[in-house]
């Protein structure tokens, strides 16, 4: 026991990244049930390690545990030492992200074991499961890497790996639409990635020591700092599907639904906002202008998307569009953070977790609907509530979470963002009011969708009691509980995430 107690969070970082990658390698060679078990085992291992690391960090949330791993010798300058490139670290912000990534990753792995089966009405799957889990676990590893990256360069490497995995996972069904969507997502996010790369080049060329450290922006000259921030912002827009890059996300709904849940609601798109949160948290002296740019673009995205989703008939596309606008919320919170509102910034961080759980739950519920009915068109569905009560529960809890109904997690995060905006006054208040309007529209819309799909005369025949597929049901129930409980975990953590001023 003493040996176990002496393990610090630092020691768990490498195993945390390695565990899913090993699982991924094993899954390449496995089929069907065997791959289910191996994937689940490695997801559990990752979850346990993450719990260990976060638990360890909880004793002192203000520290950063750093673990340098390697240098790039050829980048050594004439005088200075070679810059630290490979590095893992964990602090409060990492812990928040790690929590979202590993918990939802675990639930998605469990959920997938049933979703990808011949019993799935929409997409019966008989083989190729090993490949699916290999990419999924590879992705989990890369996401854990993003959460634990100790500097911008390391973050970039994992960032690009998630791009690759997302391409393979979106294309999983290999029909024409999914191949095209996967390709589109790859190219759009890779374009963003190149801006990230250019930002790294600029940092390297203008800083003598530790050019890629998270606080690097604060050490640059003001003009350059804004430029680098804008480059990082473009990378984040591409990843988080913001205007003008957002079109890849609705297309990516061609992916299997658990993948949409994980990549396109909980994890990968969050990498984009996580990057900006990192920058805002660690940098000093970001100008008002870059905050304005970030805020206005996010606001534009939200307003464009609100109009788009009123005309959607496809349940998954509605969720995708709603995801885009919620990522906009988080970016707005970061922008308000740049202007000095710690409250709004913390609200945005809480929203990473709250939206991850809420939207994840929505996706899993919709996945279960398509699993049983084979369609995801609202116009073809009605009265599912009687046959699929768990799904109805999941859908409504998810919808209430993302639209911000108390006491669910989404309420607290939105509350903090709006409070922050109103406190700032001026343009901040305008933003807050617009967000409130958007929230109300979205709330009404989700209510209408829920009522249309779950109430009324049943649209399809299903024998009583058949609507239980326990891996999927379990995942939905756990996530529904989390929608309520995540605040309890996340609030203490985000109190310790500093706002760079």
């Amino acid at each position: 026991m003493t040996a176990l107690a002496e393990i610090s969070a630092r020691d768990l970082l490498v195993p945390l990244v390695a565990a899913p990658l090993i699982g991924a390698l094993l899954c390449v060679f496995l089929k069907r049930r065997a791959s289910d078990y191996v994937a689940a085992i490695f997801a559990v291992i990752t979850l346990v390690l993450a719990a260990g690391a976060i638990g360890n960090l909880f004793t002192d949330l203000d520290t950063t545990h750093r673990l340098p791993l390697g240098w790039l010798a050829n980048l050594a300058g004439e005088s200075g030492p070679a810059p630290l490139v490979f590095e893992l670290s964990i602090d409060a912000l990492s812990a928040l992200m790690l929590f979202v990534v590993t918990v939802i990753g675990f639930l998605v792995v469990i959920y997938s074991s049933e979703y990808l089966s011949p019993r799935n009405v929409e997409h019966p799957v008989t083989n190729g499961k090993g490949r699916y889990y290999a990419w999924l676990l590879f992705f989990v590893g890369a996401m854990v890497g993003i959460a634990l990256a100790g500097n911008f360069f390391q973050l970039f490497i994992f960032w690009e790996i998630t791009t690759l995995c997302s391409w393979a996972l979106i294309s999983y069904y290999q029909d024409e639409a999914s191949l095209r969507a996967g390709f589109k997502a790859l190219i759009m996010t890779a374009v963003g990635g190149l801006f990230f790369l250019l930002a790294l080049v600029l940092m390297y060329l203008n800083l003598d020591t530790d050019p890629f450290a998270f606080d690097a922006l604060g050490r640059l000259a003001p003009g350059l700092r804004s430029l680098v921030f804008v480059f990082l912002l473009i990378a984040a827009w591409a990843k988080a599907a913001q205007f003008p890059f957002f079109t890849w996300l609705p297309d990516a709904m061609a992916a299997p639904t658990p993948i949409s849940c994980y990549l396109h609601a909980a994890a990968m798109v969050k990498a984009g906002v996580y990057l900006i949160a990192r920058v805002v948290s660690a940098s000093y002296g970001l100008s008002y202008g870059v905050g304005l740019l970030s805020g206005i673009m996010a606001l534009a995205t939200i307003l464009i998307v609100v109009f788009l989703f009123l005309f959607q008939d496809d349940l998954k596309k509605i969720l995708a569009l709603s995801t885009i606008s919620h990522l906009g919320y988080i970016l707005i919170a970061c922008a308000l953070g740049v202007w000095g509102s710690a409250t709004a910034f913390q609200g945005g961080l809480l929203h990473i977790a709250a939206h991850g759980c809420g939207k994840g739950l929505l996706f899993l519920s919709v996945g279960m609907i398509t699993y049983f009915t084979g369609t995801r068109r609202i116009s073809e569905l009605s009265g599912l509530g009687a046959r699929l009560p768990i799904v109805a529960l999941g859908f409504f809890v998810g919808a209430f979470t993302v639209t911000g109904v108390p006491p669910l997690a989404g309420f607290w995060s939105k509350f903090l963002i709006l409070t922050g905006g109103l406190e700032l006054g001026g343009f901040g208040a305008v933003i807050a009011i617009l967000l409130l309007v958007e929230s109300m529209i979205a709330f009404g819309f989700f209510l209408w969708v829920g009522q249309r799909v779950f109430f009324g005369a049943p649209s399809f025949d299903m024998p009583q009691g058949k609507g239980v597929a326990w891996p999927m049901t379990t995942a939905i129930i756990i996530l529904a509980v989390l929608c309520l409980a995540v605040t309890l975990f996340a609030l203490p953590v985000i109190q310790h995430i500093p706002l760079g001023m």
Partner: protein
């Protein structure tokens, strides 16, 4: 430290010996044909590694009164060349036997094939080891002639035409390099009386002594070198030979052309223009413009191709631009990045050509994107190898192409040539798109048409996929742990910059 050694002689001698065995005894005995080729390449690789180990310990080797000289760059090249040559020979075993079964060639002709391969290896070694500019020119012509015979190995009209074009253009092009050499000699002789003016090891010192009045001559010589060696490297606008030669040659020879032959041009440029670049800013910009044009035109042409081998050939035109650009920068980061990309490009482009060869092997010679679909299910290893090569070339981490491109972007930024960086970044994303697009068209999708629906379609035999897998693993290893070849690259860069 300098030491006389017989290892450089053995490096050239071993493949020659193997060639002699193949050509004299190979007609009767398979062992003397294929065995001698594999053995020759293997022993050459072993010696190359020995040489590199010595160089890494700080010893530069020379033999034959400094006619052969091994420094960091040479040792990097000989290891790379002999490694890839060995992989290509192993790949050829089953591939060429299959060609015999298909009736495209005969067993008797295989003697010529392996004999020429060994001679090619010898010529490559010679290029990398020689210390004289004139002999380097001769050896480069040697590689051209040998590969020309390999390009038209099937002896069909298209192959002959491609080969003719190849010889004509490259020989004419490389002649410019000879002019450059002559010019340089005429200028240098008066400033270095009584010394061998054209030894590569002496060149830097002599050029440093040039007065300003000789500037015109030396700039002209640089221009000639860029044209001459640029033709060999396939730089735009001297690239016309490249797509034809790649498309018509047997698949292993295409890998050889892109993997090694065009690198000869880059190597020769590394030996020559880097000497001038620090002295004249104009050289840097001139080379950067040439290289950027090559990148852009290569990638645009690649997008327009349906034939996989031509597509890859145009990518070579584009990628060699990165290499030359880096060498032209003439700074530590630039040269390092250029050489790094040279190594990486050799690995992933050879891998890609071999994968396309595997597709042709399995489908009976199909190589048009529009004819192929959904092969991945039956040929998972080939598909994985192709995608690894494609993503490596597209420059995504964690594969090797990323690290060299990163170094090049940083080098460009350091010189404030932001337009060159922007073009490099743009071409990078276009490359990724083009390759991934081709890859998913061929390997993914539901198999609905021939040849994917053909029940006879199966993965290529082990000797073929294993040689591809070795290259793929090298791409991954360098990508995950780029420091692994840092010592060799560092030495090579230092010895270029030391001039």
């Amino acid at each position: 430290m300098m030491a006389e050694s017989s290892l450089p002689i053995a490096l050239i001698g071993m493949p020659v010996l193997a060639a002699v065995i193949v050509l004299t005894l190979g007609r009767k005995l398979r062992l003397c044909r294929e065995g001698a080729a594999v053995g020759g390449a293997l022993v050459t690789l072993y010696i190359a590694v020995l040489v590199a180990a010595q160089v890494l310990r700080g010893t530069e080797l020379w033999s034959w009164g400094r006619a052969l000289h091994v420094d960091g760059l040479s040792s990097l090249m000989v290891v790379l060349v002999s490694l890839v040559a060995l992989i290509i020979v192993v790949y050829s075993l089953r591939y060429m036997r299959h060609q015999v079964e298909q009736g495209r060639t005969t067993t008797q002709r295989l003697v010529v094939y392996y004999g020429l391969l060994m001679l090619f290896l010898a010529a490559m070694m010679w290029v990398c080891l020689t210390n004289s500019m004139v002999w380097m020119y001769v050896a480069i012509e040697g590689t051209t002639l040998v590969t020309a015979l390999l390009v038209c190995f099937y002896w069909d009209p298209r192959g002959l035409e491609a080969s003719y074009k190849y010889v004509l253009l490259v020989v004419a092009g490389v002649c410019f390099a000879l002019f450059g050499t002559v010019l340089l000699y005429s200028a240098a002789a008066q400033y270095a009386p009584g010394r061998p003016a054209l030894l590569l090891t002496e060149l830097g010192e002599i050029i440093a002594r040039f007065p300003d009045s000789a500037q015109t001559v030396s700039l002209l010589a640089v221009a000639f070198f860029v044209v001459g060696f640029g033709t060999k490297a396939g730089l735009v606008p001297f690239h016309a030979w490249l797509p034809d030669a790649h498309a018509e040659a047997p698949a292993p020879i295409s890998a050889l052309l892109s993997g090694l032959v065009i690198k000869v041009g880059a190597y020769a440029l590394a030996r020559t223009i880097t000497i001038f670049a620090p002295h004249y800013d104009a050289v840097i910009v001139f080379v950067a413009i040439m290289a950027s044009a090559s990148m852009l035109i290569g990638i645009f042409m690649a997008w327009a191709q349906d034939d996989l081998k031509r597509l890859l050939a145009f990518h070579s035109v584009s990628q060699i631009g990165y290499v030359i650009e880096g060498l032209g920068f003439g700074t530590y980061l630039g040269v390092y990045g250029g050489l790094f990309h040279l190594v990486n490009h050799t690995l992933f482009k050879a891998l890609l050509f071999l994968s396309v060869g595997a597709v042709m092997y399995a489908t009976g010679g199909l190589r048009r994107i529009s004819q192929l679909k959904g092969l991945g299910r039956r040929m998972p290893i080939t598909a994985a190898c192709f995608f690894i090569g494609a993503i490596a070339m597209g420059g995504l981490p964690p594969l090797n192409g990323f690290w060299s491109k990163l170094t090049l972007f940083m080098a460009g930024g350091e010189l404030r040539l932001w337009w060159a960086v922007a073009i490099g970044v743009l071409v990078s994303i276009l490359t990724l798109g083009c390759m991934v697009h081709a890859g998913y068209k061929i390997f993914w999708g539901h198999p609905t048409t021939e040849p994917a629906t053909n029940p006879g379609l199966k993965e290529v035999p082990i000797s073929i996929w294993l040689s591809m897998a070795v290259l793929a693993i090298l791409c991954i290893v360098i990508g995950v742990y780029p420091q692994i070849i840092h010592p060799l690259l560092h030495r090579a860069t230092e010895c270029i910059l030391a001039f």
